[in-house]
C-alpha cells in the first residue's frame, strides 16, 4: 500500500486547530468531542452557580474576546446573536479586539497546542485571571466564559429560553467533583412525596402535554435515587427505587438493573454508568407550552428539590410548536443520555460519493501508462466511453476529492477496478419481485467460538475471528492460499521474468485455509483491506493487528485502546482504518502510523461497532449508550448523533449512495437514518434478537439483516427511502412520523438451522453471502 506522502497527518494540522477552537464556540455539549488528549481549557471549573459575582468589566472583556474570536472565524451569525443578547454596541468590538490580540500566547491551561492568535489570547486571558484571583470565590471569568459559550450554543439553536446553567468543564470524570453536586441535602423522606406529587401533576395535565412531560420521569428518578444513595440514605433509596422503578419505560430496564445494584456511596466511585449520567446532561425535547406548564407547577409548589435537579442535570431543548405524541417521543428516546440536541445534527455532512477515478479498459494500454506518469488519475479529463460514466458530474453533496488524502491507485488496484466494472455489468437488478439468492457459509465445529467474519469485496476470501484468539482465512475459490517464498528462496528468482508475481509464491504452502496466531484474547473484529493484501483484526487483548495475506504473518500491532477492541474496519479506499472499543473511544489509524491519527470521543459507553462512509470522509460508530455518532475524519468532529435504539448497537451499514445509514441493535430493530437531514426515516421490526449484521445490496435496493434469531431478512430499501417525509417542518424540528410498515417492507425471512447469522455480504453481482457458526 502506497503511503500517503504528507497525508492527512501533516496536512490537517492547521485545520485541526481551527476546528478544535471553534468547537468551543459551538458549544457542543460534549465539548471534548474529537480531542480527548487535550483537556478543555475550562476543565477546572466545577458545577455550581454561574451567577457568582465577578467584575463586570472583566466579564465584558471576556465577552469581547469571544466575539473577536468568532468574527475571526467568520461566524458572523453567532456574533450577531451574542452581541444582541449582551446588548453591546456594534463598534465596541473594534478597539477591544485589537487590545486583546496583544496578549501573550499562554496555552498553559490545557496543553492545547494553539496557534490561532485570538483563540489563544482568549484562553491565556482566562487562565491568567483565574490564577491571579483567589481560587474559590472569584472563578468568575472562567465561569462566565463557560457561560458565554453555553449561551452561544443555545443561541445558535435559536432557543433563547433554554438558558439553563451549564458548565463546560464537566467532561473530566473526576468522581469527587462529579459527585459533589449531590451533596446538597434535602429531607430524604420527602423525596417520594416530591416525586409522586410531580407524577400526580403530570398525570393530571392535558393528554397532549402528558407524553412530553412524562419524559422527565426517568432522569428525575435516576438523579433522585442517586442523591439518596450519595447521602447515605440507603433504605430510603431502596424504598424509592422499589416504589417507582416500575413506572419507568421498559427500554430503560438495563440501566435500572445497573442502578438497582448500586446502594452505597462507595459503589458510586468508579461506576461508569453513574459517571455517564452525571457528566452528560440528560437531553429532553419539550415543546414550549409543556415546559411552561411544568415550570409553573414547580414554582407554585416551591418544589425546589425537583427544580434543582432539572436545572442542574437536565438539558431541556425547547421548541415552538405542537407537542409531540407519545409514539414520536418513543421513537427517539431510549439512549443513555436522552435525545440528541437538535443543533448536534445541524452540521453539514458531505454524504455524496467521491468521483470514481477514470480507468480505461485494458485495451488502450498507452493511455494507462500516461495516466501513471501523471500520477493523478482523478484529474484526468473524463473519458467518453468509460464504464464509470455515472460519476461524470460532481455530486453537490460530495466532499472535494482531496478533502481526505487518499492513497493513489496502484496498477493492481486499477486491474481490480476493471474487474469490478466488468462484474458490475453482470449484476442482477434486485427488487421486491427479484430477490437475491443467499448462499450460507456455515462454520462447523466452531464450538460457539466464532466471533467475527469478513468477506473480501470480490468474495474470494473469507476470514473468521475466533474466541481462541486465532484468525483463520479461507479461500472460497479454487485458488488456494499461498505464502511468499522465504528471503533465501526469493533471491534465486529471476526478477525480470514476466510471471515474477507467480514465481515468488511458494507452491508447497498452498492450502485452502491459513491460521493467523498472535492475539491473546478473543478476536471481536475483522476486516480485509480493499486490495486483499492485508487483514485487520481487533481483539480482547486491546490491540488491533495488521496481517499480511502475502506472507500470512503479523505486520503491526496497533496498541492504544488498552481495553477490548470490539470492532475495526478498513476504509473503502484502504490505508485508513477505524477501531472502537471498551474505552469508549473510536480511533482512526493509518496503516503506516503506529499511533492513531484521530480519536473520536464522546460516546458514553463502549463503542461496539464502527463503519466507514463510502466516501471515506466520515466514520459512523455505534455504542452501548444506544446512540450512533457520525464523525468527520477531517477534523474529528461529531457531526451527527442518532438516538432511538433501545439497546446496544451491533450493526451499521451505509447505503451505497452514501445518503442513508441503517443500524441494528440488541432490541431486534433496524432503524434507518437520513444522514443529510439527520433524521430517523424508518424502523424495521421483525427480528426477535440482536442484529449482528446489516448490508445493502450493491445498488441499494435491498437491505439484508442477519440476526441472532437465526434468520436472514430482506427488506425493501427502495420503498423505505421513497416515501420519505422530508418537508421543511420535519427537517427543521426533527419530529418524525414513522408509519409502521415493517410488514410491507419485509420481503423475505429465511430461517437457518440453529445458526446465528453474524455476517452478510453482497457479491459484486448481488448474490448475498451469509455466514455464521452452527450451534447444535
Amino acid at each position: 500500500m502506497a503511503a500517503v506522502q504528507g497525508g492527512l497527518v501533516d496536512a490537517d494540522e492547521d485545520k485541526d486547530i481551527k476546528t478544535e477552537a471553534s468547537n468551543d464556540s459551538w458549544g457542543n455539549n460534549n465539548a471534548n468531542d474529537g480531542r480527548l488528549l487535550s483537556p478543555s481549557p475550562g476543565s477546572s471549573a466545577s458545577a455550581g452557580s454561574n451567577k457568582s459575582a465577578a467584575g463586570a468589566s472583566e466579564e465584558q472583556q471576556t465577552l469581547l474576546a469571544v466575539l473577536q474570536f468568532l468574527r475571526k472565524n467568520k461566524l458572523t451569525e453567532s456574533v450577531e446573536i451574542l452581541r444582541r443578547e449582551a446588548g453591546l454596541p456594534e463598534d465596541s468590538l473594534e478597539p477591544k479586539g485589537a487590545e486583546s490580540s496583544g496578549a501573550g500566547s499562554g496555552g498553559a491551561s490545557g496543553g492545547v497546542d494553539l496557534e490561532g492568535g485570538d483563540a489563544s489570547s482568549l484562553l491565556s486571558r482566562v487562565t491568567a485571571s483565574s490564577t491571579a484571583g483567589a481560587q474559590a470565590p472569584t472563578k468568575g471569568p472562567i465561569q462566565s466564559a463557560a457561560w458565554l459559550t453555553d449561551k452561544l450554543s443555545h443561541h445558535s439553536a435559536s432557543c433563547p429560553t433554554a438558558k439553563l446553567t451549564h458548565s463546560a468543564g464537566e467532561d473530566q470524570p473526576d468522581v469527587n467533583v462529579v459527585l459533589s453536586a449531590y451533596s446538597q441535602q434535602g429531607d430524604p423522606a420527602l423525596y417520594e412525596v416530591y416525586y409522586s406529587g410531580l407524577k400526580r401533576f403530570i398525570e393530571s395535565v392535558l393528554d397532549c402535554h402528558r407524553a412530553e412531560l412524562s419524559q422527565v420521569f426517568y432522569p428525575l428518578f435516576v438523579h433522585m435515587y442517586l442523591e439518596l444513595v450519595y447521602n447515605n440514605h440507603e433504605s430510603e433509596a431502596k424504598a424509592f427505587f422499589e416504589k417507582f422503578s416500575g413506572d419507568q419505560e421498559c427500554y430503560y430496564e438495563d440501566d435500572l438493573r445497573v442502578l438497582s445494584s448500586l446502594t452505597k456511596k462507595e459503589h458510586m466511585r468508579g461506576n461508569e454508568t453513574l459517571l455517564d449520567f452525571r457528566t452528560s446532561k440528560f437531553v429532553l425535547r419539550i415543546s414550549r407550552d409543556s415546559y411552561q406548564l411544568l415550570k409553573r407547577h414547580l414554582q407554585e409548589r416551591q418544589n425546589n428539590q425537583i427544580w434543582n435537579i432539572i436545572q442542574e442535570h437536565l438539558y431541556i431543548d425547547i421548541f415552538d410548536g405542537m407537542p409531540r405524541s407519545k409514539s414520536q417521543i418513543d421513537a427517539m428516546s431510549g439512549s443513555l443520555a436522552g435525545e440528541a440536541k437538535r443543533e448536534a445534527n445541524k452540521a453539514k455532512v458531505y454524504y455524496g460519493l467521491l468521483k470514481e477515478p477514470e480507468i480505461e479498459l485494458p485495451l488502450d494500454d498507452e493511455d494507462e501508462e500516461a495516466e501513471n506518469e501523471e500520477g493523478k488519475p482523478k484529474k484526468k479529463k473524463p473519458k467518453k466511453d468509460s464504464l464509470g460514466s455515472k460519476s461524470k458530474k460532481q455530486d453537490p453533496n460530495a466532499p472535494s476529492q482531496n478533502r481526505i488524502p487518499l492513497p493513489e491507485l496502484k496498477d493492481s488496484d486499477k486491474l481490480d477496478k476493471i474487474m469490478y466494472m466488468k462484474e458490475a455489468t453482470k449484476r442482477i437488478r434486485l427488487g421486491p419481485d427479484n430477490l437475491p439468492s443467499i448462499c450460507f457459509y456455515s462454520f462447523l465445529n466452531a464450538y460457539q467460538g466464532l466471533t467475527a467474519v469478513d468477506f473480501t469485496d470480490d468474495s474470494s476470501l473469507i476470514a473468521g475471528g475466533f474466541a481462541d484468539s486465532t484468525v483463520r482465512v479461507w479461500s472460497v475459490t479454487p485458488k488456494k492460499l499461498r505464502k511468499v517464498k522465504s528471503a533465501a528462496d526469493l533471491n534465486l528468482i529471476d526478477k525480470e521474468s514476466d510471471d515474477v508475481l507467480e514465481r515468488i509464491m511458494d507452491e508447497k504452502t498452498a492450502s485452502e485455509s491459513k491460521i493467523l496466531c498472535g492475539h491473546s484474547g478473543p478476536v471481536y473484529g475483522i476486516s480485509f483491506s480493499p486490495d486483499r493484501n492485508y487483514l485487520l483484526s481487533s481483539s480482547e487483548d486491546g490491540t488491533v493487528r495488521l496481517w499480511s495475506l502475502q506472507t500470512f504473518t503479523c505486520l503491526v500491532g496497533y496498541k492504544g485502546h488498552n481495553y477490548p477492541v470490539w470492532d475495526t474496519q478498513f476504509s473503502p479506499h484502504g490505508y485508513y482504518f477505524v477501531s472502537g472499543g471498551h474505552d469508549r473511544v473510536a480511533r482512526l489509524w493509518a496503516t503506516d502510523h503506529y499511533q492513531p491519527l484521530r480519536m473520536f470521543s464522546g460516546h458514553l459507553a463502549d463503542v461496539t461497532c464502527t463503519r466507514f462512509h463510502p466516501n471515506s470522509n466520515y466514520v459512523a460508530t455505534g455504542s452501548s449508550d444506544r446512540t450512533i455518532r457520525l464523525w468527520d475524519v477531517l477534523n474529528g468532529n461529531c457531526v451527527r448523533i442518532f438516538t432511538g435504539h433501545k439497546g446496544p448497537i451491533h450493526a451499521l451499514a451505509f447505503s451505497p449512495n452514501g445518503k442513508f445509514l441503517a443500524s441494528g441493535a440488541t432490541d431486534g430493530r433496524v432503524l434507518l437514518w437520513d444522514i443529510g437531514h439527520g433524521l430517523m426515516v424508518g424502523e424495521l421490526k421483525g427480528h426477535t434478537d440482536t442484529i449482528y449484521s446489516l448490508r445493502f445490496s450493491r445498488d441499494g435496493e435491498i437491505l439484508a439483516s442477519g440476526s441472532m434469531d437465526n434468520t436472514v431478512r430482506l427488506w425493501d430499501a427502495t420503498k423505505a427511502f421513497d416515501d420519505l417525509e422530508t418537508d421543511d417542518f420535519t427537517a427543521a424540528t426533527g419530529h418524525i412520523h414513522l408509519q409502521d410498515n415493517s410488514q410491507e417492507l419485509l420481503l423475505g425471512t429465511y430461517m437457518t438451522k440453529s445458526t446465528p447469522v453474524i455476517h452478510l455480504h453482497f457479491t459484486r453481482r448481488n448474490l448475498l453471502l451469509a455466514a455464521g457458526a452452527y450451534n447444535p
Binding site: S261, K264, D433, P564, H582, S624, Y774
Partner: protein, 638 residues
Amino acid sequence: MAEERRQKQCSVILPTESMKAMAESVGVGQLQEESCVAISEEVSYRIKEIAQDALKFMHHGKRRKLTTSDIDNALKLKNVEPLYGFQSQEFIPFRFASGGGRELHFYEEREVDLSDIINTPLPRVPLDVSLKAHWLSIEGVQPAIPENPPPAPKEQQKAESTEPLKVAKPGQEEEAAIQGKSQGATAADGKGKEKGLIRLKPRSTHELSVEQQLYYKEITEACVGSCEAKRAEALQSIATDPGLYQMLPRFSTFISEGVRVNVVQNNLALLIYLMRMVKALMDNPTLYLEKYLHELIPAVVTCIVSKQLCLRPDVDNHWALRDFAARLMAQSCKTFSTTTNNIQSRITKTFTKSWLDDKTQWTTRYGCIAGLAELGPDVIKTLILPRLTVEGARIKAVMEGPVVSNIDKIGADHVQSLLLKHCASVIAKIRPQPDNVEQYRTDYGYLGPMLCSHVMKARTQAALQAQQVNRTTLTITQPRPTLSVSQSGLSGSTGPRTPSIIKVPSSLTLMSPRPGTPSQPSPPATKYIVMATSAGTATTQQVITLSSSQSASPVTSTVPSATSTLQPLVKLESGSGPGLTGSRPLQKYIVVSLPSSASSSLEPKSSVIPTSISSTSLEAGMKMERSESPGASTQSPH
C-alpha cells in the same frame, strides 16, 4: 410482574453465612455479624458488576450462553486476576441434594486416580473448524435441503391451525414469495392488489415432488406390509423426519380410509399398523396435527370402541389394540384440546354415552372404559368410580349367572380387570386407610373385595416408590468429545432435495427425503436421564436450563402410564433436534409397556430399533432406567 422482578434484583444479596464460611476457609475465625453484612453487600455488588460486564463479552462473542471465559474477561477488565482452572466450554454440572430441610447445590469434584487417566486412551482430537456452503435461498425461495430447517416449523403449523385468520405471520411473506414463483406473474399481481385490502390467508400448496411421492409410496407400503423390520424403519422415519409437513394430509387420509376399510373386513393386524402410524406421526416433533384431527380422531375412536375388530373375537387380542388406541386418544386430547375445539369433553361425552347404554356390547364397553380411564385420574374419579357398583352387578350377572356365550364372558372378564387396574390407583389416593373389605363391598358392590386387594397392593407399591424418590438423583452424562467425521459429497448443497436410496444392514431400501450423506459430525450428545418424580423435577429443570443450548427441543417418547401390576420400561431419551445436515440419526426408542398376556403383534418385538439411516456410527448414549413407580412421569422437562 416486572416490578416484582426488579424488587428482587434490588434485594438479592448473598447470605451472611456464606461470608462466614468463606472467612473460615481462609483462616479468619471470628467475623462479626456487622462486618459480614457489610462484606456480603459489597461482594454482591461486585459480583453483579462483573456479571454485567461479562454479558458484554457474551454479546460480542455472539453467543446466548454466558461462559466462564466471559467472567474471566470481565475480571480482567477490572484488573482482577481471573480464576484459573475453570476453562469449561460447557456448563458446569451443579448437582443438587437436599436433606434435613436444607437444599444444597454443589459442584462435584471426584477424586481422580492418576493411573486411570494414564491408562485410558486419549480421546479423539476434536475436529477442526471447517466451512461449508449451502443455498439458504434461491431467488427468494428456500430450497428444502437438510441444511435448511423444515419448511414449516411446528409453531407456525400450530399458529396456522389455531389462529387461521391472524395476519402477518412470520413465514407469510415467504410463502407468498413461493407462490409467486410457482404461479408466475399473476400471483405477484394478486399480492399487489391484496395490499390495503384484507390480507387473505395464503393457500398452502401440497404438491409433492417426485421424490416425495416415491417416499410416500414406500413409507405407506412398508407400514402396512408384511416385513416387520421394514415397518420399523418406516415408522421411525415418520416419527423423526423433519420434512413431512407437505405429506401430512395424505398420511391422514391414508389412515382414515385404511381404518374404514379394515374395520369392515375385521383385519386386526392392519388396524394395529395404522394406529402405530398415528402414534409415529404424533411423536414427530416437527408436525402439528391439529388440522388433521378431524380425520384421525374418528379413526382412532373406531379402533377403541368398534364392536368387532377381528375375525375371531374369542381368540384374537383386540383388547390390546383398544388399549393402545385409547392411549393415543388420551395423548391427542392432552396435546390438542383447547377451549375452542373441546376435544376432550366431546370425546368424554361420546364414551360415556355409549357406556351408559345397556345394549352396548362388552367389547365397546371395554373400549369406552379404556378410553375414559386413559384420560387421567380426574376422569376416573368423576365418571368411572360412581358407576362401579352398576358395572359390578353387570359383570356379576355374566360371570355367575347362567351360561351365556363365551364371548360375553371373556368380555366381562376383560372389563373387570380393566376397571380394577385403573380404579385401584385412584382409590388408593382418595380413600383413607385402612382398607376394609366389607366397607369396599358396600361401596362398590361386586367388585369391592377385588378392588380392596388391588388398592392395598397399590399402596405398598406407592410406599416403596416413595422411598426411592427421596433420593433425588440426577445423572448427567457429560458430552464426550467423541465425534466422528463422515465424508460425503455436498450433494444437497446445490439443488433442491435429492433423495438417495440408502442401504441399510437388513438389505432393504428405503427412500429418505433427506440425503443420508452427512457431512457434518454429529454434535456431542447430551443426555439427561431423569429418574425422579415431582420432587426432582424442579431441580432437573434448573440444571437443564443451565446446560441445554438453544437446540431444538428433544424428542420425547411419552409412554403412557401402565398399570401397577406391570413393570413398565420407561424410557426417556433426548435426541437433540435435527442436525444441520441431518447426519445425526435421531435415535428413538419407544418401549410400549403392555400386559404380559398381550400377545398381539402390537408389541414391538425389538425394543431397540437400530436407526441406520445414516451410516454415521454414533453412540446412542442411551441409558435404561427401570422406574419403579407406576405411571412415573415420563415427560421430559423440556
